[in-house]
């Protein structure tokens, strides 16, 4: 298991938590929480070691579209980059519904 931490800048306050997904084979769990700061932070724990560059690429792209001040925790069981991106979008949708 590998732990990865990433930080981004943020503009917008978020009011609601969101929890989506499951730590099942090829899937992941996303916990999204509001943060009192103008930054966003991400902590990833993944069962597959050695893919830090891929994680950074997916999160860089996600935060190029999303400006919420949030702390995101990802618990991953080998999801593909596409699945990761969809779960992140699902978490945003749940936090803004």
């Amino acid at each position: 298991m590998e732990q990865i931490e990433l930080n981004y800048s943020a503009k917008r306050k978020i009011s609601k938590n969101a929890h989506v997904g499951v730590v099942g084979s090829g899937d992941l769990e996303v916990l999204l929480e509001p943060k009192d700061a103008d930054t966003a932070s991400v902590r990833i724990r993944t069962s597959v070691d050695g893919f830090k560059d891929n994680w950074k690429a997916v999160l860089d792209r996600f935060f190029s579209q999303y400006d919420g001040a949030v702390h995101i925790e990802i618990n991953d069981a080998g999801a593909t980059p596409g699945a990761v991106y969809l779960r992140l979008q699902q978490a945003v949708e749940a936090s803004e519904s």
């Binding site: 938590n17 929890h19 499951v22 730590v23 724990r45």
Partner: protein, 298 residues
């Protein structure tokens, strides 16, 4: 078969199995009364998995919700079969037994609180084997304590099924509800195949596996109280009816002589076809039909 699967009623039903564990639990409560306890943001997760290189889950795969079902106090504990096969670890096991103990305490204090267990579990989680075994023992004693005051209902809906120590927990509950897709047994088919070889038991033979462990077979054997289709509305009604019915006059696990006499009547020198291992409702000490009539009389 195809006429059943493509019938409008079948297509329009709200599947219970396709809901995730949290939504299954939520669906059983009276309109929005269910609230989650020790949820994912409380981060009560397994301390043992990360040490073994396994990613933990924020709720440890166990969802506890409290609220009202059919107007009565109830707690629902749902296992997420997608996380570690729904396996019981130190934390998920403690969440389940603590929820049952709180329901028991409330029941003793004049607030009867039923428990519904949504079991999708292979039993003890092997990464936490000793703690998981201890948890199963606690769960069983908590069920036996609570079932005197309020019904404990085990629901086995999905194809993960209920195996290992948790099949014993289901066995001591007041009622068992299954769908034909569910499976119930002590040793799972993969375990038997691994131990005794594929000639003895072929775990990939779905027809064989369901003919032995499947909901229909377990119902025919009198080990299950209600067999329901994979339909959320039917599941809600079934659970409500059982809570209304209350504590059964005699628990299944107390009918030792009945089940012993059935085993004694079987000749183990012959290979029994699963279809032959069924007992009519009339031979049960508490036939389903009679109790249902009694419930409607009230």
């Amino acid at each position: 078969m195809s006429s059943l699967i493509f019938s409008p009623e079948y297509l329009q039903r709200r599947s219970f199995i396709e809901l995730n564990a949290r939504d299954r639990a939520k669906a059983l409560f009276d309109s929005e009364t269910g609230r989650e306890l020790a949820g994912p943001f409380d981060r009560i997760e397994s301390p043992w998995l990360a040490m073994q290189g396994v990613t933990p889950q924020a709720d440890d795969g166990c969802i506890v919700m409290r609220g009202r079902i059919g107007g009565q106090h109830a707690v629902v504990i749902a296992f997420n079969g997608s996380f570690q096969g729904g396996g019981i670890g130190e934390v998920s096991g403690a969440k389940l037994s603590a929820a049952l103990d709180l329901a028991c305490r409330d029941s003793e204090n004049g607030k009867p609180t039923s428990a519904v267990l949504l079991l999708e579990t292979g039993g003890v989680r092997l990464q936490e084997a000793n703690l998981g075994l201890a948890a199963v023992a606690e769960i069983i004693s908590s069920i036996v304590a609570l079932r005197r005051y309020a019904p404990v209902i085990s629901v086995i809906a999905g194809p993960v099924g209920c195996f290992g120590g948790m099949s014993l927990a289901a066995g001591v509950s007041s009622y068992i509800v299954m769908t034909p897709e569910g499976r119930l047994g002590l040793n799972g088919p993969e375990v038997i195949e691994e131990e005794s070889g594929v000639e003895e038991f072929d775990a990939s033979n779905r027809a064989l596996i369901w003919s032995i462990y499947g909901g229909q077979q377990r119902y025919n054997q009198g080990l299950v109280d209600v067999l329901v289709d994979d339909d959320t509305d039917q599941m809600i009604k079934t659970v409500r009816d059982l809570i209304t019915k209350g504590v059964p006059p005699i628990n299944r696990s107390e009918q030792v002589d009945l089940y012993r006499s059935r085993i004694a009547a079987l000749d183990p020198s012959t290979q029994w076809a699963p279809g032959k291992l069924s007992w009519s409702a009339a031979s049960l000490a508490r036939p389903i039909g009679r109790n249902q009539e009694a419930a409607t009389d009230k």
